[in-house]
Symmetry: none
Subunit: 211 residues, 4 copies
DNA sequence: CATGAATGAGCATTCATTCAT
DNA sequence: TATGAATGAATGCTCATTCAT
């Protein structure tokens, strides 16, 4: 308590965070005890408390880690998207990567645990905001200037899409059955050419420029 | 003869299940220890094991309980729905009730825990199937006979809607902020009159008649 | 507490005792919980307390039961023994039956438990006395009148033989290896003709006549 | 790396083992709960699981401990034995020490518990083997070269003597009555001069040299 | 005569966390 | 910087026993 843990950087810290992500992904949050994480990473369990104030702190750091890593991947691919067709295709690829990276697993487990620990709920909400923003921005690029713009609220829809994304991943883990997700992506793909006329022919490139 | 518990009925069993639902709703699955549930219900913790083979058994019973209770409520209201407008309105009301009853909370917590305990995943999937079915049936009533029928796959969409529903509830618990949900329902409400022309003018009453 | 349990007789009592013997034999004393015994016998566990003041009371009754049953078998075969050869042969047969009946298992388990519950030690000692007596009497029949009579103390040896018997059975259960016991009995068989000349040519029939 | 306990050495480990021996000796295996052992040793019960994988592991370690300690004592005294008279005298002294050290108590309790937990039976058999070997070796030293050598099987007899030893100790704990044992040792003492002529006049010194 | 229901106490084990080194 | 040692509190679960019926 004398020394202030929660060191911001360092290779050992990364090692711990990586081990935490891996353990949460494999054994769930309930199975991600200090012992389990230390075993995964091959270090002493007391080391966790040298870098983080508590296990919860590490859990949040794990979410920050995967979130940042995935966000980079998303941003890198966003420039590829020039049509609704691209959007569906790239979206499917990114989803597959998300699942493989364990990002949404970590997210879902933490969101789930926030019920019992409301104090971390706010922080998780913060960490999700960039994703909602990115989703909304992407939608705006397709919607701006079209006749649907005044009808729909991209902000609300973005929230809903993130929720949907979270839910889909949770259901996937129930029985590891990809057919659910596959059917949905297939339908999106089929709908894309139909919806295209109503949307922007060539979506404008966009970042996080407007608020 | 009284050895393998999991008694099917009885007032005490109900008391335990109710206490379990209440505890999961309030403290999450991680906080729903045998002791915590017993405290909520005002009975001895050993009593749980007289009625259920394990805590996991009780958790599943809790989900079965809320699921059955909510399904009854849903079926009772289904006949009220005669237009897309009705659907949005009744849907919103039912969602509010779901949240209040804690049904989706119990569901979300159990789905989340299935990551670490794959053996219960299959059972949860079973318990979710009636909901997917109900969702799909309801959609079919609006879609059947319209020109959108060949374009969309109500089965896949139903899965997606259930996932969306699950995700929305999880996000709601993050910060207890209803604005997210409200904005979405408001938009649905606004979209209803626009979408109506494309769908069945008067949806056919339907149960679980077709497979 | 109002009614005095420990009923002396009755078919139901026998059923309980038999179930107790069976359970101790199979699962050991530590595994012979009220539940386990009731399951073996197919009755309600509370029934035990209608016939016995406590589980310990039932355990002792179980020992009394097997002890009496085996004593009858021993006495019935004693008249067959007319030579040292007979003794070894019949002794081997009776040992096999003892093991099969679980008598020595129950005895060994109870003796073992007496360490922690000294209050039952005295009762067990009492229950073992007839066996020591029988052993001594049998020895006396062979020794009386011979020149070895003043040299050995059949009382002490009888105690030792019973201890040996107990120990052998315990070791047998370690690995279920009969070879140990077989080798010993084989050697006894080989020694019998050698020892015979030193003992009574025709052992006198004897009961529990002398003190 | 510190995860699978069962640390091989260390003073704390010794403390735990000693406390376990003491507790088993006093309260029996059934009374040697983690809490009871911790109380005996004055340490936290969780410490047990830092050094041993389970209570069973500790029980076996306790047996290994007493067995090794007693074996050292036995070997140290073996050189004193030059006659049958010595054997009886030293044997009696060692038996007294065995009882005091609790070695045979621990052994008997563990052997008894192997009925319900067959998986530890094999290990216990292993731990008993040196004792059987020592007994046989000692007998061989007296028998070798004498006319009784071809008649008796020292291997089988050694097994029987160990069994006898075990049984005697168990009976002793029934009523803490030493007279049984005393009478037997007294008789052995009386028989020694009689048996001596038939055995080796001066037993050969021997270790575990021959197989 | 027998049972189902119920309980308080105890069990083995694991937890997050601390601390001296 | 990192670790081994240690602990108090909690975990899921089983126990012998009681009691109303």
């Amino acid at each position: 308590m004398a020394d202030p843990p929660d060191r911001a950087t360092g290779p050992t810290r990364d090692r711990i965070v990586t081990a935490a992500v891996e353990t949460i992904k494999t054994h769930g949050l309930a199975g991600a005890s200090a012992r389990a994480i230390a075993k995964t990473g091959g270090f002493n369990q007391a080391l966790i408390y040298y870098y983080f104030p508590s296990l919860t702190g590490l859990y949040l750091a794990a979410l920050e880690h995967t979130s940042a890593a995935r966000m980079n991947a998303y941003l890198a691919r966003m420039t590829d998207i020039r049509s609704l067709d691209d959007l569906v295709r790239v979206g499917g690829e990114l989803f597959d990567e998300d699942v493989a990276a364990g990002h949404i697993t970590v997210l879902a487990e933490l969101v789930s645990s926030a019920l019992a620990q409301p104090e971390i709920g706010a922080r998780i909400t913060e960490l999700m905001e960039p994703w909602v923003r990115l989703t909304q921005d992407t939608m705006d690029r397709f919607v701006r200037g079209t006749f649907v713009e005044p009808i729909i609220q991209t902000g609300a829809i973005a929230q809903g899409l993130v929720a949907f994304y979270l839910g889909i991943e949770m259901l996937y883990h129930l029985d590891r059955d990809r057919s659910r997700t596959d059917a949905l992506f297939a339908m999106f793909k089929a709908l894309a050419p139909i919806a295209s006329p109503f949307l922007a022919a060539s979506p404008q490139p966009g970042g996080e420029n407007d608020d």
